[in-house]
């Protein structure tokens, strides 16, 4: 190989500097910093004693785990964590079951009023949550659901978005699968459960993840419907650290840092599905 050949071969592997690429990387870097800074401050503050909270250094001068001990032992944190987990898991399971069942029915069965029902469900997406809170509250009050788990959970047990999402995915499942199972002697419920559901697993994962995260971080409705601290969910419970007399930032940040653990775990374990789910939802919708 001559020197010229070697130079040419090397130049093929040399990274070419493209101005557009530099701009994109810079913007992404700034975006990343903007997003990660509050998170870093949250963890940093959780490791600072109360006296250092307004010391804005990222690395704590006197790091301590005392806030964690205090949050876990002398507050209702464990109970709130359990409440949030119970609410988020129950609502997620309910959504996965009912949204997909209704979505499947709307996508795969022909019956009178099918289109009307679908449009009615779709129209619920256009009503902001804030407008629904008063009817939900009145309903809870009338049925005696105020300050109960069911009161926290019932508005989200089935959602228009989830039904719409699942219906769109089931539309894409070829009818042949269901017909083959019908000929093989399955009843409609078994066909839905054993055949249709596994075929829309990415959509189910996306729905489950978004529902779980949405309910894990839900604040407004649980704040309104609960009055006793035993029923507080984590966001509501953490907000109780901010009272008129003082805001215990170190406690709020410690609680928030602990509250991110399930969220982070969900992201780490299901990252693949989240990305695929978001992509699919984009393509399908």
């Amino acid at each position: 190989m001559t020197d010229t050949d070697r130079q040419e071969a090397l130049s093929r592997y040399r990274i070419k500097i493209q101005p557009g690429r530099i701009l994109i990387w810079t913007l992404l870097f700034i975006g990343g910093i903007v997003m990660i800074t509050p998170l870093l401050f949250m963890f940093s503050t959780s490791l600072k004693p109360a006296s250092d909270v307004y010391d804005l250094r990222l690395i704590p001068a006197h790091p301590t785990l005392s806030n964690y001990v205090a949050v876990l032992t002398s507050t209702g944190f464990v109970r709130w964590f359990f409440n949030s987990m119970l609410v988020a898991v129950s609502v997620t399971c309910s959504n996965v079951f009912f949204d997909s069942l209704v979505g499947y029915t709307l996508a795969k069965f022909r019956f009178r009023g099918r289109r009307f029902i679908f449009l009615a469900i779709l129209s619920t997406l256009m009503i902001p949550t804030e407008m629904l809170v008063i009817p939900w509250y009145l309903m809870s009050a009338n049925f005696g659901w105020l300050d109960t788990y069911w009161g926290i959970m019932f508005p989200g047990m089935m959602t228009g978005f989830g039904t719409f999402l699942m219906r769109q995915f089931f539309e894409g499942v070829p009818d042949d699968f269901m017909e083959a199972a019908r000929v093989d002697g399955m009843n409609e419920f078994v066909i839905w459960w054993k055949i249709a559901m596994p075929l829309v697993a990415p959509a189910l994962s996306a729905l489950a993840i978004f529902t779980f995260l949405g309910n894990w971080t839900a604040f407004f409705w649980p704040l309104i419907v609960t009055t006793s601290s035993e029923l507080y969910t984590l966001p509501v419970g953490l907000s109780s650290f901010a009272v008129e007399a003082a805001i215990q930032w170190e406690m709020i940040m410690t609680g928030a840092a602990l509250a991110t653990i399930p969220t982070l775990l969900v992201f780490l374990l299901f990252q693949r599905y989240i990305v695929r789910g978001v992509m699919l939802a984009g393509v399908k919708g």
């Binding site: 017909e179 083959a180 093989d184 596994p198 697993a201």
Partner: protein, 346 residues
């Protein structure tokens, strides 16, 4: 196994009638192929037999029982779909076993049946694979396996080979045919491919626009087509149809009724054949040639009408040249130009 009887079977979608009161008797163990162009009602008929489409009128019997109102699972039939419809999240074993999901057999018996089905279809080595790791032909075999494992009264095939390439299609044709010879299960097979129909069927049912045009053995349909559509649909290349008027003055034909269409199969219209014993001799200008090896198909124009003839051997006459070809006595098919019904052979 069971016979299948269709009596005045009708399918209506709102006000549109897709199948117009067809009658058909399928004997126990018979292999019947429903053939016709897209939209002729063949798949709809099959789906009515399967119970996947409601029957709008008439009667469907499987064995001696009327099954119009019965759900698919109560008919004890098995169906193989064009898109295989094997479940991607299940292994081959689970897919085949799914056909036994509602069976009262013990787990061991079910396993034995799955293994046996896998062995018959050459899938033993693939039982623990998922469909994504199989070829098209293997997937179709899995679909057949799922149908076979239940020992149904009848097999229904809805264009099962349409998604396969030509070579695999030919192989699978033989495999399905052999399977039928072994199992002797009543089979209704839908296809738009007349070669599949000819090679596999005990009896072919030609359908068009929701009507049955003709029913018969492959040879019967080839030799004695009842109308222009069947004559052109069965046989490759299609039968030449020449208006009698275009043949005026040509040798051999006794009369020249303008209301008659003359049909002649390309394989019976031989280029440069001896004229002795020929009922018709025509000449035309060569437009194109298709050398097929043992013979060459010659596309030509006779008095403005497109005609295909056969030239034995691998010799192609030059494009634009005039060639003469003859048809032996008994190889001409006459049809009424208005009704398109057959008038016999000459």
């Amino acid at each position: 196994m069971a016979s299948i009887t269709l009596e005045k079977l009708v399918k209506r979608y709102d006000k549109v009638e897709a199948v117009h009161g067809i009658d058909l008797e399928i004997a126990d163990g018979e292999f019947v192929v429903l053939v016709g162009p897209s939209g002729c009602g063949k798949s709809t008929t099959l789906r009515m037999i399967a119970g996947l489409e409601e029957i709008s009128g008439g009667e469907l019997r499987i064995g001696d029982e009327i099954v119009n109102e019965r759900a698919p699972k109560q008919r004890n039939i098995a169906m193989v779909f064009q898109n295989y419809a094997i479940y991607p999240h299940m292994t081959v074993r689970e897919n085949i076993g799914f056909g036994l999901y509602t069976s009262s057999l013990s787990k061991d018996e079910k396993n034995a049946r799955i293994e046996e089905t896998g062995r018959i279809l050459g899938l033993t080595d693939y039982l623990d694979r998922r469909p994504a790791a199989l070829s098209g032909g293997q997937r179709q075999r899995v679909a057949i396996g799922r149908a076979m494992v239940r020992n149904p009264s009848a097999f229904l095939f809805d264009e099962p080979l349409s998604n396969l390439d030509a070579q695999l299609r030919a192989q699978m044709r033989i495999e399905i045919k052999k399977l039928h010879q072994d199992l002797k299960t009543t089979t209704v097979y839908v296809t738009h491919d007349q070669i599949e129909a000819m090679t596999m069927a005990d009896r072919i049912v030609v359908m068009k626009d929701g009507y049955i045009l003709q029913t018969g053995t492959p040879v019967d349909l080839y030799e004695n087509p009842a109308d222009v559509f069947t004559a052109r649909f069965i046989g490759t290349p299609s039968m030449n149809m020449i208006p009698m008027a275009a043949l005026a003055g040509k040798a051999g034909l006794p009369d020249h009724d303008p209301d008659i269409l003359v049909g002649v199969r390309p394989h019976d219209l031989i280029v440069n054949a001896p004229k002795e014993g020929a009922i018709l001799t025509i000449s035309g200008q060569v437009e194109a040639c298709e050398p097929l090896g043992p013979e060459t198909m010659v596309h030509m124009r006779v008095d403005g009408e497109p005609v295909i003839a056969t030239l034995p051997g691998n010799v192609a006459p030059p494009v634009g040249s005039i060639v003469e070809c003859s048809v032996e006595t008994g190889k001409l098919y006459l049809f009424d130009a208005k009704t398109e019904k057959g008038l016999g052979r000459k």
